[in-house]
């Protein structure tokens, strides 16, 4: 029988674990945005070696499962003498993986802008920096908001994978909970509810931001 009592009791520990899920997702997307922006800049730069590096970066990180990246990264670091906490390894891996997708999101948004937008700015004598910061990027950010929120939601779910390097986020916490209570169904449904709750909030945030930036 489904036990409502166990179901509700599961929420306490799982909410506690959710802070790791959120931390990894938010830091991951933050790092992903920073690296992704640099990769996108490299991809769009006039220098062939930079462009090639960015292209390889994107295709490699998109082509290898995050789970495998996590394991490789986690076990590779000690080999090269770096002993970092699992949490750092997780955030960095998630961020690097996200950077590949985010750089493509930027690139798509920038490519979607009509060429005339930049031309109008160039024609009145604006510097390249002004053209980018005043004309191209503000529009590209607005255009890519839905895709960025989408990416963030994907990251929240993908963060369940970091359980393999021993971080007690929602998924791993529910596994532990299930093992001690012998009530896996109640526990996992509670975990599902928490993921859903987080992502509904993010979707709402996305709608709010889109509404606010709409012109």
């Amino acid at each position: 029988m489904f036990s409502l009592a166990v179901f509700f009791q599961s929420f306490g520990p799982l909410f506690w674990a959710a802070r790791y899920t959120l931390l990894i997702s938010v830091l991951g997307i933050g790092l992903g945005i920073v690296i992704g922006t640099l990769i996108c800049a490299a991809r769009l730069s006039p220098y062939p070696p930079l462009r090639r590096f960015a292209a390889i970066w994107v295709s490699f990180l998109r082509g290898v499962p995050l789970l495998v990246q996590l394991l490789v990264f986690y076990y590779a670091l000690p080999v090269i003498g770096l002993d970092v906490p699992a949490m750092v390894a997780a955030v960095v891996t998630v961020g690097i993986c996200a950077s590949a997708y985010i750089s493509e999101i930027w690139r798509g948004a920038i490519a979607a802008l009509p060429k005339g937008q930049a031309e109008a700015a160039v024609a009145i004598g604006m510097t390249p920096v002004d053209v980018w910061t005043r004309v191209i990027l503000p529009q590209a950010v607005t255009l890519s908001l839905p895709a960025l929120i989408n990416e963030l939601i994907l990251l929240v779910k993908a963060s369940s994978l970091v359980s393999v390097v021993g971080i007690l986020e929602i998924t791993r916490a529910s596994q532990a909970q299930a093992a001690t209570t012998f009530r896996p169904l109640e526990v996992y449904i509670a975990a599902a509810c928490i993921y859903l709750l987080i992502n509904l909030c993010l979707a709402a945030l996305g709608r709010y931001l889109e509404h606010r930036t709409a012109v």
């Binding site: 009509p114 005339g116 937008q117 031309e119 109008a120 700015a121 160039v122 024609a123 009145i124 004598g125 604006m126 510097t127 390249p128 002004d130 005043r134 004309v135 503000p138 529009q139 607005t142 930036t213 012109v215």
Partner: protein, 257 residues
């Protein structure tokens, strides 16, 4: 109004790979006069116009604004970005697709160049932007975003954006081609006013009426060649070149019903 510029083009050539878009263009644009460029689409009119502010890089020949070579310091030696931007400051450009920045209001669109390029304070830029908008008849639309404006209004904001910079030369690239027919008149009337004030204007257009009544000289282009430059009357009413005659015939047929 600041002094009006002149433009001299000598033996200007432009290639897209193997395709020659401009062939040995020679054109003198006197200060304070209106020059219209007509011709079939793909004939190189827009390319020629865009060479004047070096938005399009010509491959050989010279384009001089008030005697100053634009784009190059010497043959095959590109001008520095800073120098080029300085020259572009006094050349206004109006595009077929308006190219207003959608994330800014009409006034912000006009003030942006004043603030970023002319380094004018925000308050002064706003005041000048309002004046420029009033001049094109859009004082009441300064807080509107472009998406709230009709095509004709957007193009007038674009003209205000250009004239607020106090250019000495204005380039118009088919300014009315993207407009619904009933909105063409309001844009042409703003351009007519500008011409009356003695602005040097180069206008790529399919509006033969505007060319006939406002232009001081009309250039006809075909297949990258500037076939002829002459008075509007000689080009539009008494053309000698069979290519111009044939172009005008097609034009009249399309516009008769």
């Amino acid at each position: 109004m600041p002094a009006a510029s002149s433009v001299e083009m000598r033996k200007v050539n432009k290639y897209y790979d193997k395709f020659q878009a401009l062939k040995d263009i020679d054109l003198s644009i006197p200060p304070g006069k209106v020059t219209c460029l007509i011709g079939p689409s793909g004939s190189g009119k827009s390319t020629l116009l865009r060479c004047i502010n070096f938005l399009e890089e010509y491959d050989s020949g010279e384009v001089r604004i008030d005697g100053q070579l634009i784009g190059y310091d010497a043959p095959n030696k590109k001008m520095s970005g800073r120098r080029l931007r300085e020259m572009r400051r006094s050349i206004g450009m109006v595009f077929q697709q308006f190219n207003l920045w959608p994330h800014m209001t009409a006034r912000e669109n006009v003030a942006e160049g004043l603030i970023r390029v002319r380094r004018i304070s925000k308050a002064d830029a706003d005041r000048r932007a309002s004046e420029a908008l009033a001049k094109v008849g859009l004082a009441d639309k300064s807080a509107s975003h472009p998406s709230r404006l009709s095509g004709g209004q957007q193009q007038r904001v674009a003209i205000a954006r250009a004239i607020a910079m106090e250019p000495r030369l204005m380039l118009f690239d088919e300014p009315t081609s993207a407009l619904d027919p009933e909105l063409v008149g309001e844009v042409l009337s703003v351009m007519r006013t500008l011409a009356g004030e003695g602005m040097t204007m180069v206008v790529v257009t399919h509006e033969m009426g505007f060319a006939a009544h406002v232009a001081d000289q009309v250039g006809f282009m075909e297949k990258g060649e500037l076939v002829s430059v002459d008075s509007p009357d000689r080009i539009l009413h008494h053309p000698e070149d069979p290519r111009i005659q044939s172009f005008l015939r097609t034009y009249h047929e399309r516009n008769s019903f």
